[in-house]
């Protein structure tokens, strides 16, 4: 059975977390280690997708930020979405035939909308790494609003 676990600060060990996954290159591993370190400093929260057999599929790291200081716009920030190399592009029946990436992204959207019912959260923010991802996010509803490289979507 696949489970999504929200990792507490105390449960994240950057070295051991990075060993759970396979990577296309060492740069990816370094990003996972960095994300874990951010998590231990309470700068982001990691939601880990794994199964009861000990396989780890990937994670999404989320945080809260308020941008546009004058107007105070609270938002969820997608810090990092990562899928372990061997599971990329694969659909899982247990996840309603979605990929790990799709599942984690849907989880993020659902979480943001749920949180918005409790607190005045207004946006989801992210920095796409390249044009293909930017185009994908634009089709969902994210927009660039300036040249900062950040994209926003109103909740």
């Amino acid at each position: 059975m696949i489970k999504l676990a929200t990792l507490s600060r105390a449960s994240v060990y950057p070295g051991s977390l990075s060993k759970r996954f396979q990577y296309a290159d060492d740069g990816e591993r370094q990003y996972v280690v960095k994300t874990a370190k951010f998590s231990t400093r309470q700068k982001t929260r990691i939601h880990l997708l794994s199964d009861t057999s000990g396989n780890d599929y990937g994670f999404v790291a989320l945080s809260i930020s308020s941008f546009d200081q004058s107007y105070n716009r609270p938002s969820i920030v997608i810090d990092y979405i990562f899928t372990s190399h061997q599971y990329r592009g694969r659909k899982f029946p247990e996840l309603d035939n979605t990929t790990v990436f799709e599942y984690l992204f849907e989880f993020t959207l659902r979480s943001a909308l749920s949180l918005q019912e409790i607190v005045p959260l207004r946006f989801i923010a992210l920095q796409p790494a390249h044009d293909r991802l930017a185009a994908y996010y634009q089709r969902i509803g994210f927009s660039f609003i300036d040249t900062s490289g950040w994209m926003f979507m109103k909740l």
């Binding site: 059975m1 941008f67 200081q69 107007y71 592009g89």
Partner: protein, 83 residues
């Protein structure tokens, strides 16, 4: 499965490259190129916005597509725990 997701199948990871990693990544992945060279893990959204950017934000409407995607997420499919 929507067309949108079909296109996204090969998109496996979103991650903001730091400046130090950018060059290496571009060399390794021809389809990847930086939008502005300022990506940095742990970066925060801009604290100051121009009037034009602010206007664009104010005119944004919630995404129907995103709400559809969120609605697909079935919480009962997974056990969500805090470890």
């Amino acid at each position: 499965m929507t067309e949108l997701f079909k296109e996204a199948v090969e998109i496996y990871a979103y991650f903001p490259y730091s400046d130090s990693m950018k060059t290496q990544t571009i060399e390794q992945e021809s389809t990847v190129h930086s939008l502005n060279g300022k990506f940095k893990l742990g970066a925060r959204p801009p604290r100051r916005l121009s009037a034009a950017a602010r206007k664009q934000l104010d005119e944004m409407v919630p995404s129907v597509k995103a709400r559809e995607m969120a609605a697909r997420f079935d919480r009962s499919q997974v056990i969500r725990v805090i470890e």
